[in-house]
Amino acid sequence: MAGRNLNQTALHIPDGYLSPATCAALYAGAAPFWYVSLQRMKRAFNTQMVPLLSVFAAFSFIIMMFNLPLPGGTTGHAVGVGIATIVLGPWASILGISIALIIQAVFFGDGGITAIGANCFNMAVIGSLATYAIYRVLAGRASITSARRVIAAGVAGYVAINLAALAAAIEFGIQPLLYHDASGAPLYAPYPLRIAIPAMMIGHLTIAGLAEMVVSAGVVAYLQRSEPALLKRTAPGAAESSAAVGSLRHLWFALAALLILTPLGILATGSAWGEAPLAQAPRGLRALSSFWTAPMPRYAPPFLKSPAFGYLLSAMTGTGLILLVVLLTGWLTRGRAGSRGLTK
């Protein structure tokens, strides 16, 4: 079933590249992370763990098959570890990506069966933990819809996949030092560290890393627009939407500016169109005019002598009253919704 693709297998170590001892050591290295992930997932998700991990591992598997167009005209394949970590968290990502890698190795021949431990250690363990650490540090407390999160996701995916490639390069590079026959011929991966590291890193710093960056950043940007709730698991303490806060702040500034500029109305000559003097009003309306006396008639409170200051005070009072009504309505509405929730 080895429908192999050169880009896809660049990080999937096949059988025969690593010695059995190295493979065993990397199985042992990955095992504690699998155990801890499984325990944490059981605690966090209980019965939901099996379907969640299954479907996400299947998703990661399919994402690895996507042919991604990259800048420069080439194409590449992503591992999907960046987006899996950002959406599910590092522990679920370790398990999900590992399961996808096991199925790839056993059923589709991408990566060796003896190298499953190595591939899982590099891509699932190092990839997930590195993505999580970098994403959390770079994204900080930025809001879910912030552009900073898109950049953080791209950088985290890019760095994580390159760290995984570096680990694989080191594993390749130590083989000729440790394992060779009597004539000196290397028994496994034949290149020393000085060749293995640049050979692996050039491809990953340019193509595979970019592919992971495109998928991680692109999917986070998409989820910000369509399903921001999916990004909340790895964004504890994220600020409220910066766009909303920003636009609200602008509104406050605009409102303050308008309040200050209200006395400009006095400078205009004549009266505003449609504001007819009371003498010209119909007789019926004139009769009703004494029914209610405004506390600040004609925007000029009687206790103030300066018309400009009177205008300003009227604007502030009007705005304040409107805000008070809005806040009171909001408070009453929330109170009712809360009481409904409690009685459910």
Binding site: P14, G16, T47, V55, F61, N67, I103
Partner: protein
């Protein structure tokens, strides 16, 4: 690059077709198909480990011949094996191994001007290609002669936790569900696309497709969970163990054991 969507569709279809053919071959009446899956998993895995451990090219070559004979006896076509395993592995590992014949220091067997092919380099390349080809053939034999659910059940002999076996089984099933969804998404997009998409648009398309697929996967996992709960799933996993080893299976196990032990002995 006009065929970006077409190429993505082609790779998704190819994966489905290969899985379908593998399942078809796995249910045919070949030699390995009749063997108890537990014996096959243990035996073929032992041979793969021996291939990795062997320090003699002759032993690796002998195991490759044994794998090819087993494939022929199990109705696995040589052309299919060559197309799916041998040639891709040869191209991939060959490309990696080729510089080694010049770069590995040692006794020069042929001079090419400024560089030379060394004996140690040739041996290193032969080890790498031989191991990769033989191990890939053996692992391909396992999935081409055993239905996937049986491979998973057989993993229990390695004390693989039941929950992991269940997740692997469900993952395999949902791979094809999500594969079908992805295929339909790209086909729908293909039917609405006229002309050549610019590179930035192709990247946007790939990212959006991945995002949509992610949303659908999350939704699907919730629905699957609800369906499992409604059928009484409370977190405990039970697997039906209906394998029965016959006398011939014990013979196969002995055969695998003998070949593995002999190869390990001669290949040390």
């Amino acid at each position: 690059m006009s065929g970006y969507i077409e190429r993505t569709i082609a790779s998704l279809v190819a994966a489905s077709e290969r899985a379908a053919i593998a399942e078809q071959v796995a249910f045919s009446e070949g030699a390995l198909q009749r063997v108890d899956p537990r014996v096959k998993v243990a035996g073929l895995f032992a041979l793969i480990v021996v291939v990795a451990a062997s320090r003699r090219l002759s032993v690796i070559a002998a195991l490759f011949v044994i794998a090819a004979i087993l494939a022929a006896a199990s109705h696995v076509r040589m052309r299919r094996l060559a197309g799916w395993v041998w040639l891709p592995v040869l191209f991939f590992t060959g490309a990696i191994a080729l510089p080694a014949i010049f770069l590995t220091p040692g006794h020069a067997v042929a001079s090419l001007g400024i560089t030379a092919i060394t004996e140690q380099g040739l041996r290193a390349a032969a080890f790498l290609i031989g191991r990769a080809e033989t191990a890939s053939t053996l692992s391909a034999l396992l999935v081409l002669t055993t239905p996937w659910p049986w491979v998973l059940k057989a993993l229990r002999i390695f004390r693989c936790p039941m929950i992991v076996v269940a997740i692997l089984g469900m993952t395999y099933r949902y791979i094809f569900v999500i594969l079908q969804t992805a295929l339909e998404m790209f086909e729908a997009r293909q039917s609405r696309t006229v002309g050549v998409l610019p590179p930035s648009e192709r990247r946007r398309l790939a990212s959006s497709a991945a995002g949509v697929l992610l949303s659908k996967s999350v939704q699907m996992s919730g629905e699957v969970h609800q369906a499992m709960r409604s059928r009484g799933f409370r977190g405990e996993i039970h697997l039906l163990q209906d394998f029965r080893a016959r006398a011939t299976d014990w013979c196969w196990l002995a055969g695998f054991g003998l070949v593995a032990a002999a190869s390990l002995w001669y290949g040390r």
